[in-house]
Amino acid sequence: MSSAHITPVRTYVAVFGALFVLTIVTAVVAYFDLKFMNTFVALTIACTKATLVVWYFMGVRYNTPLTKVVVVAGFFWLLILFGLGMSDYLTRPWLGVPGR
């Protein structure tokens, strides 16, 4: 007997509905110029959608704590790449490095 949790169909349908609506919302919002908020709004919606997919469709919600740590660590390492990468590129002009 497997102890795996079986997600009800209505949960999958609800998540599907949310993903569908968020896709429409992100496209409609992008039609308007929100200045510096454009990318922020687009990425907030994208991260929400990705979280829904990871948590429900991929079922990380019901996985062991070890799997959860691996998943979070994976995305966290990506932020380290972006954070340290851009801290380099964005600060190069400050020092006037030749050729930037």
Binding site: T23, V53, V54, T67
Partner: protein, 241 residues
């Protein structure tokens, strides 16, 4: 699981499942190990795509005008439709795994076929998008010759800000590698469909369909980020190309 002690994990007198490999105590542990292993592979995939997203951030910072003007040339309607198609494929994939968990062979077959149908639709739409970009000379390198198509179909030269070629380089490599992952995913689904057809999966044993589903959803997540970052970036500027 009331008792997970190794010597008693199977329970007294319980026969081992034929799919239980000898190095696992029980089916639950075997499934957990498969899921963990798949996630470790997916983390390497996050890093793989992460390098491309890093390049995207660096060049978008360096060429904001080239980025916005080039993004405007992508077809938001086709890209958006493809996003919805992939979401449909993800929900059918999740339902295919669920069908295995509840022991429905028919449910697995129907949902896997739908997943493959949506996946194929995505690639067909992508083909038409690529063909249009080639037609308009928006391919970086020797073929680079940006053109604007008038209502009567004539092509006139289009001046694009610097950095546009880098945008299209990243557009083709990011969506191209994503499409390659879709092709691999479709091949994987064909194998899983065959296994499901043969009735290989049961509520006690469904590891292969579960981990293949994780891969499929991951590819969907990559597109969830590619769509706003590539297509929607210049949408507010109007699609007046």
């Amino acid at each position: 699981m009331a008792d997970s002690h190794p010597s008693t994990a199977l329970g007294a007198g319980a026969a081992a499942h034929p799919k239980l490999q000898h190095h696992f105590y029980n089916m639950d542990q075997q499934l957990e190990a498969s899921i963990l292993g798949m996630w470790i592979f997916l983390v390497t995939e996050i890093m793989f795509f992460g390098g491309l997203f890093m390049a995207y951030i660096v060049y978008r910072t360096a060429y904001p005008d080239g980025w916005a003007s080039s993004s405007q040339l992508l077809n938001v309607y086709l890209g958006g439709a493809n996003t919805l198609v992939l979401i449909c494929s993800s929900v059918t994939m999740a339902l295919a795994v669920r069908s295995a968990q509840v022991g429905s062979r028919r449910g697995q077959i129907v949902n896997l076929m739908l997943t493959m149908l949506f996946g194929t639709t995505f690639l067909v739409v992508k083909y038409f998008e690529y063909a249009e970009k080639f037609h308009h000379g928006l391919v970086p390198g020797a073929l680079w010759n940006p053109q604007h198509e008038l209502a009567d179909g004539t092509l006139v030269a289009l001046a694009l800000p610097s950095g546009s070629q880098i945008f299209f380089s990243l557009y083709f490599i990011m969506t191209g590698i994503h499409a390659l992952h879709m092709v691999v995913g479709l091949a994987l689904m064909a194998i899983i469909l065959w296994m499901a057809w043969k009735g290989r999966f049961s509520p006690q044993y469904y590891g292969p369909i579960e981990v293949s589903g994780l891969y499929w959803h991951f590819v969907d997540i990559v597109w969830i980020f590619l769509f706003p970052l590539l297509y929607l970036l210049g949408f507010h500027l109007g699609q007046g190309h």
